[in-house]
Symmetry: C2
Subunit: 403 residues, 2 copies
Amino acid sequence: MSVLEPLGCELCLHNVAVPADCNAVLKALQPIFQEQGMTETVHNWEDHGYLATYIKKNGSFANLRIHPHGLVLVDLQSCNDHMKGREEVDQLLNKVEERMKEQFQSNIKRVKRLPAILRGGVIDRYWPTADGRLVEYDIDEVVYDEDSPFQNIKILHSKQFGNILILSGDVNLAESDLAYTQAIMGSGKEDYTGKEVLILGGGDGAYRDPVATYVCIFRVPSPYYNSLSSSLHKTGKNCFCHETDAFSDKRRQPSNIDQMVIDGCKKYMRKTCGDVLDNLKGECYQVLIEDCIPVLKRYAKEGRMFDYVINDLTAVPISTSPEEDSTWEFLRLILDLSMKVLKQDGKYFTQGNCINLTDALTLYEEQLSRLYCPVEFSKETVCVPSYMELWVFYTIWKKQADV
Amino acid sequence: MSVLEPLGCELCLHNVAVPADCNAVLKALQPIFQEQGMTETVHNWEDHGYLATYIKKNGSFANLRIHPHGLVLVDLQSCNDHMKGREEVDQLLNKVEERMKEQFQSNIKRVKRLPAILRGGVIDRYWPTADGRLVEYDIDEVVYDEDSPFQNIKILHSKQFGNILILSGDVNLAESDLAYTQAIMGSGKEDYTGKEVLILGGGDGAYRDPVATYVCIFRVPSPYYNSLSSSLHKTGKNCFCHETDAFSDKRRQPSNIDQMVIDGCKKYMRKTCGDVLDNLKGECYQVLIEDCIPVLKRYAKEGRMFDYVINDLTAVPISTSPEEDSTWEFLRLILDLSMKVLKQDGKYFTQGNCINLTDALTLYEEQLSRLYCPVEFSKETVCVPSYMELWVFYTIWKKQADV
């Protein structure tokens, strides 16, 4: 059973005088609820208006909040099943609107009705954006829902976006999100032919290789491979892809990308990962499920260099508070180590965060000036369909010595 | 003044037995509200659990709804200013979560907290999608808000999408939505050089011409021209763009695209319309503010033919009920007349609707088989950033006779 919580109507009135008009609103609307057989409890604040609570025998109830400055809020919680609940609520709210219009016609400044919120059901449709806005997804099925030792892993089906991977409440990648993969691979401007690529992090397997010959992938996390990249199998060189100790996407709590993410993705995110995750090793790639730090250190020591490093371990931390220092240090460590294994003319791609989190993005850019070697960067804003917010991606390269 | 309405927490418990455990939840949480100096009113349904209402002296209140199947909902309405309200609410909800975890640890199945909803303020952040989902925009300024004789016209500023044109509550176009304009112009696959183009509808001025030479535009609505298209001025031929009697975008109520939309857009949507709306006539275009039906009839009679007809008058109607017949007839009339002025090898571009509204889209496709001449069509799904839902666009062309 789920509970429909329509946010009801919001009616803004002009010129309401306290307290006489608050009482007029209450008197006008009371009969509507009473006709429904609802029992009333009224609280009068004197200086803050009224709260009337109406209770129905079936477990539904309504709040009528009348503010002295003219705002009238009617909220209902219905316990009926979805469709019946909506009808019940719509009828009641229609009556409220009608009555208000009859009585306060010229004084009504705004009438607004919001879609109902569904809570307590098996399917949770509300996955707020990184910048904290409430958005409802068109989720119609829970495909996978497991707790790994590191995090909660959900794969939910959206009517329009396909399966969506959600790690500890953060939308990571949906089957619709080719735009993300394209952006973090350089927006189609790179020729990967014969290049060696190191990919850090991820776990959902959406690597798309635009050329797919002689690509060598180390540490490909999952938000990469996809059916296209099955063509990777055909290339000559070995590719190595590592899974790693990472932070969850988009939000700040540290979490490990784990085997269970790969297991869920290779079964339910095949539109993004194709068959690449079926075998952690192909002719030209290898997925390592390891902490990336020691691996990077080893490569640096061995002098192993890459044309591209793609870091999809974590988004830029949202919080900029002192307790996040360790996150920034982690980010800087990864950046430093990555630069050590990046060829002099190589490129480093990474996601930033929501374009609205300007403080966090600025702080990230400051980190870039604190690396062991001077770097330059550019950024691009991309619309990733399932994110419902614009996302910033970075390209970072070593500053070339003046000739 | 605005009202913060946090949807509070949603706590789902396992194995709650009626009614003893409902009472245990109530008893566990009561002190938290009482410590706040809130006065309590409890309703006990016996078979439907409890509703406890807690009222604070400052006009804030909370609902604690305990369902016998284990769902516990805590909702607060705060009258404090925004930031102070959020803090007050967060503290209270933290305590609720803590207490619940202490008492029902292993029985807690899910804890979910949603971002607060802000109502009654000057800025309205909630503009539901065409498929009826609740989404919050990052609106931070009301740029323009006027009622024309036909509709309400709002231009609101979004931090990430720039200015957004909202007609009678429907998001029409934002400055971020080049993807819309590109899609309705054929997704960059057309060469408009020397072509004659008729554009129906619109009013926000975002016409983008990829080549911008010898384009003749009739009836360009506004979701077209943009700064790029100022280059239209440089072309040799006349372009005519008509404003017209139309239906509002995305939703079903008929509304007229009117002079006030053009006035608002040419002032506040310059990133999309450039200077094209400053003069309704340029060297190669003309905007007509007229009913499109008689104009189309006149062109058809005169034998005036176009290479492209771009119809941005209205989205496919959402409702498929009988009372919408006239809308479908209007759509078919426009389609028939457009086909009459479309060259044999010409193309007709139009928006459909949200990809989730499959019934409406199917009905639209059925209309295409009922035109005076046989046509074929293709469709494309596009992510228009400010829509927060995937949008379907159609390309329609006259069926070529078998050779």
